[in-house]
Symmetry: C2
């Protein structure tokens, strides 16, 4: 369904306005769809995002501030997000030897296992994207990168 039909608006000021609305609308749609997967595992999108970052570290400890830098939504309160993961034994926290202000975070076996359970569903979900070609996906990615460059 076109964005026009979806939000019942048939006139836009410009192609740029339509794109801006479509971006936000599509992103909300995407996050909502992923949330439907995650909620079976009692985690939020943000918690999943942190877990993925931790797994990406390959068991190397990572500081809270570094997690924040890698997050999709940087306004999140990373400290409290990590608290949630700790409470579920999905991550563990140790003090950083080099810098006693910092805190090192590592994913646990339990956390890795949870991601392994979720992976097939996320993969299946992403595979539905092949309604467009990989080249088209790359084209969009490249143009989005360019859009954000207009910022300073």
């Amino acid at each position: 369904m076109s964005i026009e039909t979806d939000i019942k608006q048939n006139k836009f000021r410009s192609a740029y306005q339509r794109l801006a609305l479509n971006l936000v609308y599509t992103s909300n749609w995407l996050e909502y769809k992923q949330l439907e997967i995650f909620k079976h595992y009692d985690i939020t999108s943000q918690q999943y995002n942190v877990l993925r970052i931790l797994r990406g570290q390959q068991m190397n400890p990572i500081k809270v501030s570094d997690i924040t830098e890698r997050m999709l939504d940087r306004n999140s309160n990373t400290s409290r997000l990590v608290d949630k993961l700790l409470a579920k034994n999905l991550a563990k926290r140790t003090s950083c030897p080099n810098d006693r202000r910092a805190v090192d975070v590592v994913i646990t076996e339990e956390g890795l296992q949870l991601l392994t359970e979720i992976d097939p569903f996320v993969n299946a979900w992403e595979e539905r994207f092949n309604i467009i070609t990989p080249e088209e996906a790359d084209t969009i990615s490249g143009l989005l990168d360019k859009l954000r460059e207009s910022d300073q």
Copy 2:
């Protein structure tokens, strides 16, 4: 800056995964940038979204449920959003003659005025999008529409 650099991840499972992450990241960036405009006027993105929908109605009353349908983020609690606008005299609420369950909402002069004040800033912001061509913007929009079609 490429999404790779932005979230410090240099490998993606597929072009589709990169696109999914880029979409969410870019949408957050976009919403954050708009918020910077709106906060000078003491409204949130959601409240702005509702005001725009009301203005689009050209003074014709619109039901709360219809506002929800047109919103970019439909998980919002429209009822309470309208409350906020009422409290600021940006909208008014009358009971709907045809259906006593429903509530008609209309933008006030004050609401229209506020949008008029904000317009130039939003327009200027959107004009920076011309770092890509209108054709490219349309291409992305079309592909995003297609992506959402994969949903059922």
